[in-house]
């Protein structure tokens, strides 16, 4: 069975086909949601921001150029929205807030208390560590390591060179190792 590519779906959505747009949402909604979540660390606003991302995509689907990869274009929109939101609301993340947000997301009944505690601690550490990075390093690492975008795609989303992306990731890596070293060393 032929599975339509994002590109084909985007072109159909461009011509007004809502079912094609629904399929694009099914494919990318979770990825964008987690990208926004990892960047903002606000579980209460990441769903709204994700909806906003897709609303912008819907409104500007007419400007989608077939040469561009749909996911790159999508993450570019998401990145811009996250940065605008960050500047507008000056999202300062406190560790307490992170704990609170993670607490909402956990499915307490599904795991035993010890596992839950360990996962919660790990999340706390990772989220806190990423939140200390400068914007560009945070975005480059989130897009590359969590969303699986290539250097080239990240560079297009961030409007910078591939070399700059590598630098952001490398600098971010060094800082993250500095912060997480005691916990990383526990891993065998």
């Amino acid at each position: 069975m032929h599975t339509e590519s994002d590109h084909e779906l985007a072109l159909r959505a461009k011509s007004g086909d809502e079912s094609a747009f629904n399929e694009l949402m099914r494919r990318h909604y979770k990825g964008i949601l987690n990208f926004v979540y990892k960047f903002t660390y606000k579980a209460d606003i990441c769903e709204d921001l994700t909806q906003e991302v897709f609303l912008r995509v819907y409104k500007s689907i007419n400007t989608y150029e077939p040469q561009a990869k749909f996911s790159t274009w999508l993450y570019k929109i998401a990145t811009n929205l996250c940065l605008t939101n960050l500047k507008k609301k000056n999202l300062n993340i406190s560790l307490d807030e992170i704990r609170e947000n993670i607490g909402d997301l956990e499915d307490i009944k599904s795991e035993n208390a010890q596992n839950l505690m360990q996962r919660k601690q790990l999340n706390d550490r990772v989220l806190k560590a990423i939140s200390t990075l400068p914007e560009k390093e945070r975005l480059a690492i989130t897009l590359c390591k969590y969303q699986g975008l290539s250097y080239l795609e990240v560079s297009e989303a961030l409007n910078c060179s591939v070399g700059a992306v590598k630098t952001h990731i490398f600098r971010g890596r060094s800082k993250l190792i500095g912060i997480l070293k005691p916990h990383i060393d526990e891993i065998n």
């Binding site: 979770k30 969590y146 590598k166």
Partner: protein
């Protein structure tokens, strides 16, 4: 001293940017050097640790919610279009009225009240005098000047 190029390659490896051949070549170099192996393991542990951070699930009705927002936005847009149209009609009416009033004022000022502005008002006597003068001039006789007064006294 670790070669910076290989350090970068290690990061490229973990970002999935190396092909199979490049990866094999890198792994051989890493095996040969303690320092490179240390760096490699450090990166490996970091990215594995980071990857174990949990992902969140979208709300089950996210597509329905999206279309609801779209339709409510479109409704707002059309409402504001109608409001704009209504306002447009209202303002067209008001501005037309204002133009009519302005034109009437200009016409009244320039033409009807011109006489008053010049400060001269015609009287019936003046009109009669002019009429008589024109009549006398048209006769082409000495009587013409009679209109200015009795001439018998001067002759005598």
């Amino acid at each position: 001293m670790i070669d910076e190029k290989i350090i970068n390659q290690i990061e490229d490896y973990f970002s999935g940017e190396l092909n199979d051949e490049e990866s094999k070549s890198l792994l051989l170099k890493v095996e040969d050097s303690d320092e490179l192996r240390k760096h490699f393991e450090e990166s490996n542990k970091l990215w594995s640790y980071m990857a174990s951070a949990e992902t969140i699930e979208p709300s089950p009705d996210y597509i329905r919610r999206f279309w609801k927002i779209v339709s409510s936005n479109e409704e707002k847009k059309s409402r504001s279009f109608f409001q704009f149209n209504f306002m447009n009609k209202k303002w067209t009416f008001v501005s037309s009225l204002a133009v009519i009033l302005l034109l009437s004022t200009i016409i009244v000022n320039n033409f009807v009240l011109e006489e008053e502005k010049s400060g001269y008002v015609y009287e019936e006597d003046d009109e009669l005098l002019i009429h008589n003068l024109e009549e006398a001039l048209s006769k082409n006789t000495p009587d013409v000047l009679n209109v200015y007064g009795p001439w018998e006294d001067i002759e005598n």
